[in-house]
Amino acid sequence: MAWFRKPKYTTIPVTQRKSEIAEGLWVKCKDCGEMIYKKDWEDNLKVCPECNYHFRLSLQERITTVLDNDSLQEDDTDISPTDFLDFTDSKSYKERLKIAQDKTELNDAVITGTGTIDGHKIVLGILDFNFMGGSMGSVVGEKLTRAIEKAISAKLPLIIISSSGGARMQEGIMSLMQMAKTASAIARLDTSDTLFISVLTDPTTGGVTASFASLGDIIISETKALIGFAGPRVIEQTINQQLPKGFQRAEFMLEHGLIDMVVSRKELKNTLAQLLDLLD
């Protein structure tokens, strides 16, 4: 039945092949502009070998760089957001959610669960900037609060890895209240002598910085991550002048005494493991 056998070679239309070569093999560093060979870049955990700029990771990539293989057991996967304010700006919140859900295959901007880091069992929360800028609405607030409560009751260390533009405007005041809710849960965790390590990645700003993310017993920031309360654009517009170079970067935060350490992506898992060794 040779007639039906799959051909050995398939042809790719020329236009597609061209763009794949241009975009597929090389990546341009967003900071120094260097062209990086994609495979090297991926092997380097998406860090520019020239200037050490840390590209943003997807949630899945973050999980694989921090947790032991296949150790994640997700919790509360059935919680999804709802447009309770019937919020419509240039797009409706429903539409924005749909787009974000299709893009990320997540219900909302966070996953929570348990996992291990070098064998240490922990409760974990990771925010995903790809889902509406990692913004915190009711689902993010609720899932993180449950994770915090689980860390308390199971007496497990808590690690939250943040990347977020802040509160989710489309949930109005309720998103603001998630700051109070998560910070209250962390305050409770504090009274139970449970360890909380807050990891800040690019970018962490607004209501997330002004709540749980700043309340870690230990606060770690990834190299060159943008960390701050007000966004740089808002500050520039308010003070009407250009911001100094390096302003609100992880190194700036370290210099001003606001975080414990700046850690590169490659070292993050080891650093967490070492801390867990010492404190768990």
Binding site: D78, I79, D89, G137, V139, E171, M179, A183, I235, I239
Partner: protein, 326 residues
């Protein structure tokens, strides 16, 4: 002081000016009392009509009215024996937050409130009511004093938001706000929060975690200003009307969402039209809330406060009603 009218109050302004003119004419010997009476009646009807149908954006403008009473007005009219406390013991004293001790009738209470100015000079002094980290840290210090001396803490919210500036970032604006949320949530004393004017996002919430949340009728409380929201989401700064409506930032909206507990009614035309009246009403509201809260011991209060904020948020969970699962 001469009243400052907002755009939507122009018809009221015209009538009130006419009344003033007539009153002046009356002083020259003409009998105009009937005309004045008629105009007063008209003005009343007009005021009631306009103020019973305010749009959320109009309420926002009232909440920011330059003559609107602020924390210092309430301190002066509701409390006695006020002693102001200054400084965060770390960096500076931030005038955008006022803190101190006072008597509410016979009881000693601690007070923390944002302070805006009423003209350019005072606005510059108070930085338009936008605190720096040192302001929040002063507040945090005074919260702990209230706990130490087992006195109720009363806070008054009136800010466009925490100040977005270089110094504020260098000194940890995010940390300062987060620490206050942390402190307030576990504070072993009664906390009554009143939103008196503008409740601007995290900068407001930083003194806003309490057991009872009161809100003046024409105050607003929001995650972002209508201007900011319009600029970001509509990409059009002029869409403030729609943004204000969509954000659900009025007292009535927030009571429905169960983010606040009680609305303090204002005089027709807004709190600034009758400061004595709003102070009397607010004082009653504060005293009532306080006596309710004082029925519980401090550990019950902390637990109830935790649950109050714990249940905030709306989402869908398969097979489980989120209202029930706390």
């Amino acid at each position: 002081m001469e009243n400052i009218y907002l755009d939507f109050e122009r018809p009221i302004e015209e009538l009130e000016n006419k009344i003033i003119e007539l009153t002046n004419e009356g002083k020259t010997g003409l009998d105009v009392s009937n005309q004045i009476k008629k105009l007063e009646e008209q003005a009343n009807i007009l005021r009631n009509k306009i103020f019973s149908h305010l749009t959320p954006w109009q309420v926002t403008q009232l909440a920011r009215h330059p003559q609107r009473p602020g924390t210092t007005d309430y301190i002066a009219n509701i409390f006695t024996n006020f002693i102001e406390l200054h400084g965060d013991r770390r960096y500076a004293d931030d005038p955008a937050i006022i803190a101190g001790i006072a008597s509410l009738d016979e009881q000693t209470v601690f007070i923390i409130g944002h302070q805006k100015g009423k003209d350019t000079k005072t606005n510059l002094r108070y930085n338009f009511g936008m605190p720096h980290p040192e302001g929040y840290r002063k507040a945090g210090r005074v919260m702990k004093l209230a706990e130490k001396f087992k006195k109720p803490l009363l806070t008054f919210i009136d800010t466009p938001g925490a100040y977005p500036g270089i110094g504020a970032e260098e000194r940890g604006q995010g940390d300062a706000i987060a620490q206050n949320l942390f402190t307030m949530s576990q504070l072993k004393t009664q906390i009554i929060v009143t939103i008196i004017g503008e409740g601007g996002s995290g900068g407001a919430l930083a003194i806003g975690v309490g057991d009872k949340i009161l809100m003046l009728e024409n105050a607003v409380y929001s995650v972002i200003s209508p201007e900011g929201c319009a600029a970001i989401l509509w990409e059009d700064k002029k869409k403030v009307d729609s943004a204000a409506a969509t954000l659900r930032l009025t007292a009535k909206n927030l009571l429905e969402l169960e983010v606040i507990d009680e609305i303090i009614p204002e005089p027709v035309g807004g709190a600034h039209r009758n400061i004595d009246e709003i102070c009397r009403t607010l004082k009653k509201g504060l005293s009532k809330s306080l006596s309710e809260l004082q029925k519980h011991n401090s550990s019950t209060i902390v637990l109830k406060r935790y649950k109050k904020f714990r249940k905030m948020g709306q989402f869908i969970e398969k097979n489980i009603d989120n209202e029930e699962k706390i």
